[in-house]
């Protein structure tokens, strides 16, 4: 257990407020919380990759950052038109 893994574990606590907003807020607030959760998860993946000393694991963080962007844009577009 090194400092990177401890930081990743601490960072996971940040997902709890995001989950609360997703469940209790309006639908746009839930989208904001989803975007925040995407950022937190991306940084967590970076910390886990460094903590385990596996450079290929950084690809997960990179892929998640790209997919969170695409997913957020799709949700935002959907919210302004249909929901």
């Amino acid at each position: 257990m090194n400092e990177w893994l401890i930081a990743a574990g601490v960072l996971l606590v940040g997902l709890v407020p995001c989950g609360i907003v997703m469940m209790r807020g309006t639908i746009v607030e839930a989208l904001v919380a989803l975007q925040m959760a995407g950022v937190v998860q991306t940084v967590t993946f970076m910390l886990l990759a460094e903590g385990y000393h596996r450079a290929p694991f950084f690809d997960l963080a990179l892929a998640l950052a790209l997919l969170a962007l695409a997913g957020g844009l799709v949700f935002a577009r959907m919210l302004e038109r249909w929901v």
Partner: protein, 104 residues
């Protein structure tokens, strides 16, 4: 513990603290617009601090370069996402995109 390791841990703690503070900000703010402001520091300051910590530890190896690329991607993507979300909120509230001056 070398000075480089100390600086690395300082950046690490700063990055994690920024992320957690922004998560709390998203929870406690009243409006979606107010909550939206807290994604900015989380997607800019936090990843920069973490990437700097990783580069200090790994130098510009494969891990360091990938950390930089990921941080840059987050920094570039955040304004786009924030703008799209703010636009969606505006349209949902007003039912159209044009300002009052344009529509009159």
């Amino acid at each position: 513990m070398s000075p480089s390791s100390v600086v690395c841990v300082v950046f690490l703690v700063f990055g994690v603290a920024v992320e957690l503070a922004c998560c709390v900000g998203v929870l406690v703010m009243r409006d979606a617009h107010d909550k939206l402001h807290y994604i900015g520091p989380a997607a800019i300051l936090g990843p920069i601090a973490i990437a700097v910590a990783i580069v200090l530890r790994e130098s510009l190896s494969q891990a360091g370069v990938k950390a930089i690329i990921t941080a840059v991607l987050l920094i570039v993507a955040n304004p786009v996402l924030t703008h799209a979300t703010g636009r969606a909120l505006y349209i949902r509230r007003r039912d159209h995109l044009e300002t009052d001056r344009e529509s009159s």
